[in-house]
């Protein structure tokens, strides 16, 4: 019995040794589980499209140089149906059965928190551009890297800008959904507001996927709040704005963590999206040079031509994840997960997304530029250097807005 077991194990071992030879030897496979269906499919597709786009572009430019050999990149993507548990199973499969070389991330912090446990367990580096919550990086994991700036800093530039607005907003409502990312945003924003001398008149957590904001809006109105900061998901923010309009709630300004940079969000709201503030760590500027794409502007143009919609920071961050691996593999001169992991910690290169360098905890640090929807355009308003464009502030009352005609 023991002998049979031993020989069986021998066979398995031999078989597993042969696996790399049977698959096309030169390919370096990046695996990911992404939300292609389900409630997060809307943002999930940015990740799939951008991963594909970056992999294709890198391959077209000759692939990745490992030592003195050129290797091509390959992708293996599963659809996690917007289900966290399924995504954990799929990452386990990618790591243990599919034996992919490296892992790319899913969208959203709560997914990244769960999935990074898999990369840690199998000691395969994961570079993810979909989760910004500090919770992902506070566990001292060694194999998780993130290209979204920390959630706690999302409103930093916005609060800074608020202190320079005339008339200065005095009291603030902070609303946030009850998930990892949004809770982190709220935790980071409270001390910022306090430091800026702004009063938090309303500090309220709401259920993710909430559709009814009428009660909160009534409170915002009755407390006469100047500025509303919302950390939530696009569907909630859409409902929030529509209901604000229908109740004529018009604070001096409102700002949202998501939605504003996304084309489909603006399309769904039409001109009602006007005046909304948001933030982005990325703008498709020609000044962001890139080894593979030329620069961010060219990236955005080519991306739109291929997929039919404008990339936002999610897409740029996802493309940067692929580039981070390409660069780290070249630096390491190897596809050994340990060596690539070490190379990732030392990365420092310019990309279409900005300078890719990870802090001690594995997360990138990038400043958020305040943006505002003005007419059909998303306009950069406030960055490191101060005001870029004059904000439209205070926001006009709903009935004082100029509409161009019957709906859209």
């Amino acid at each position: 019995m023991l002998r049979i077991g031993a020989s069986l194990a021998g066979c398995l071992l031999a078989a597993s040794l042969f696996v790399p030879d049977t698959s096309s030897a030169a390919d370096i496979t990046l695996g990911a589980s992404v939300q292609l269906t389900g409630p997060f499919a809307n943002t999930g597709r940015y990740y799939k499209d951008a991963y594909e786009f970056a992999v294709d572009q890198i391959n077209e430019k000759g692939g990745v140089k490992v030592g003195n050999q050129q290797s091509k990149l390959a992708l293996k993507i599963y659809d996690n149906q917007s289900d966290v548990n399924l995504s954990v199973r799929q990452y386990t499969q990618l790591a243990s059965q599919d034996k992919v070389n490296f892992l790319l991330g899913p969208f959203a912090s709560n997914f990244a928190i769960a999935d990074s446990a898999v990369s840690e367990k199998y000691r395969i580096p994961m570079v993810q551009g979909g989760g910004a919550s500090d919770q992902i990086f506070s566990r001292k994991f060694k194999y998780i890297f993130g290209t979204l700036a920390p959630a706690t800093d999302y409103f930093q530039s916005t609060v800074e800008m608020m202190t320079k607005l005339k008339p200065e907003p005095k009291n603030v409502a902070l609303l946030y959904a009850d998930d990892a990312f949004d809770v982190s945003v709220a935790e980071g924003t409270r001390p910022l507001l306090k430091k800026a001398g702004l009063t938090i008149a309303l500090d309220e957590r709401y259920t993710s996927n909430a559709t009814d904001f009428n009660s909160l809006l009534a409170r915002i109105r009755s407390a006469n709040i100047d500025a509303v900061l919302v950390a939530g998901h696009e569907t909630e923010i859409l409902n929030f704005i529509r209901q604000a309009q229908s109740l004529s709630v018009s604070p001096k300004m409102y700002s949202f963590t998501v939605g504003v940079p996304s084309a489909d969000f603006r399309k769904a709201l039409g001109e009602d999206a006007d005046f909304a503030f948001g933030m982005t760590a990325w703008l498709p500027s020609a000044s962001l040079k890139d080894k593979w794409f030329g620069d961010a502007e060219q990236f955005a143009k080519a991306y739109k031509a291929k997929y039919g919609y404008e990339p936002d920071y999610h897409a740029a961050s996802a493309a940067a994840d692929v580039e981070a691996f390409a660069q780290a593999i070249e630096d390491a001169g190897s596809t050994d997960p340990q060596k690539v992991r070490d190379a990732l910690t030392k990365l420092n290169f310019d990309s279409l997304y900005g300078t890719i360098a990870f802090a001690e905890d594995g997360q990138i640090r990038l400043p958020q530029t305040v943006i505002q929807i003005q007419g059909d355009e998303v306009v950069p308003i406030y960055g490191k250097q101060g005001f870029i464009t004059q904000p439209k502030y205070p926001m006009p009352a709903w009935n004082a807005r100029q509409t161009t005609g019957a709906g859209k």
Binding site: T207, S215, Q245, G270, D272
Partner: protein, 309 residues
């Protein structure tokens, strides 16, 4: 305090006591709750009808609401048909769809155990949802007629026009249903079948056609609810499941015997949710609504307006 802001309106607001603000706030939130309840009622009406008459808990109900929303969206953006004026078109199209689904699919299991009907309607829900994503993409849609953001103020209380119109539509449809079930020949036949199938057949009622008609009416109502939902909220392929859960709760709270019960259930739920959001906290909306559901099940298992068994 804020000396720089001009206008008599503001100083007035500052003089106003906290009590006054609280009363205004309560009035506003109560009104929001009632209007929300109207929307809830129209969503649940079809589910309650199908459940009461066919004994099918239609887990795909929310998905049909979603389909109705998309239909109204296409009518509005493609043909410029107002979502309220388009209600009859949506209703008829969805009726036909519902009739066919019942005739070709659900009639096969209508007398099977409850579990089978749950399984098949769950399956329909999954199919509709994923076909919708393929057909319409995961992008959000809103039906946004020019008056969508309008409101009228009634003293300190503000009434959103679209919600008021949706509420009115809900009331009209509910009373229409009530009259239809009570006074018309077809309505009586539906009720007769629900009460005693054998006797109904002896009187010459053809159950397969009648079941399909009932289901068609239920889905037609779902379609109209979807149009209104799209006008006040947003539509994407995944809104169905949560809407089904809401409708389920409303049907139980209101009772299945009487369409008027559904409107009571909807308003009760809308008001309680809104008050919970105001006084308890914004994460307690669902806790409150399902709390009410449990309480009703304990105290009046056949619903607030249901016959006590």
């Amino acid at each position: 305090m804020r000396g720089k802001r001009p206008g008599p309106e503001n100083s007035e607001a500052e003089i106003q006591t906290n009590e006054g603000i609280a009363v205004n706030l309560l009035a506003q939130v109560l009104l929001n709750g009632v209007l929300l309840g109207g929307l809830y009622a129209i969503m649940a009406l079809g589910l309650a009808l199908v459940w009461g008459v066919l004994n099918i808990v239609n887990l795909a109900h929310g998905a049909f609401i979603m389909l109705g929303g998309y239909l109204a969206w296409y009518l509005f953006t493609g043909l410029g048909i107002d979502p309220f004026l388009g209600l009859p078109i949506t209703a008829v199209a969805m009726f036909v769809l519902g009739y066919l689904v019942q005739r070709l699919l659900l009639n096969l299991i209508v007398r099977a155990p409850m579990f089978n009907t749950l399984l098949i309607t769950f399956g329909i829900e999954v199919v509709i949802t994923y076909v919708a994503q393929l057909a319409f993409s995961a992008d959000f849609r809103t039906i946004n007629p020019s008056y969508a953001g309008n409101n009228v103020s009634l003293g300190p209380v503000i009434i959103p026009v679209v919600r008021l119109m949706a509420f009115a539509a809900a009331i009209v449809l509910t009373f229409g249903m009530w009259v239809f079930l009570l006074k018309t020949r077809l309505g009586r036949a539906i009720r007769a079948t629900a009460q005693n199938l054998v006797a109904a057949r002896l009187y010459g009622i053809e159950p397969r056609h009648l079941y399909a008609t009932t289901f068609g009416i239920g889905i037609g109502l779902a379609g109209m609810a979807g149009s209104l939902y799209g006008a006040v909220s947003q539509i994407n392929p995944y809104i169905g499941a949560t809407l089904t859960a809401k409708c389920f709760a409303i049907s139980i709270i209101g009772g299945l015997d009487n369409p008027l019960g559904v409107i009571v259930g909807g308003i009760v739920l809308g008001v309680i949710e809104s008050l919970a959001l105001l006084y308890v906290g914004a994460t307690f909306g669902d806790v409150a609504s399902f709390g009410v559901l449990v309480a009703v099940l304990i105290v009046r298992p056949s619903g607030l307006l249901g016959r006590t068994a």
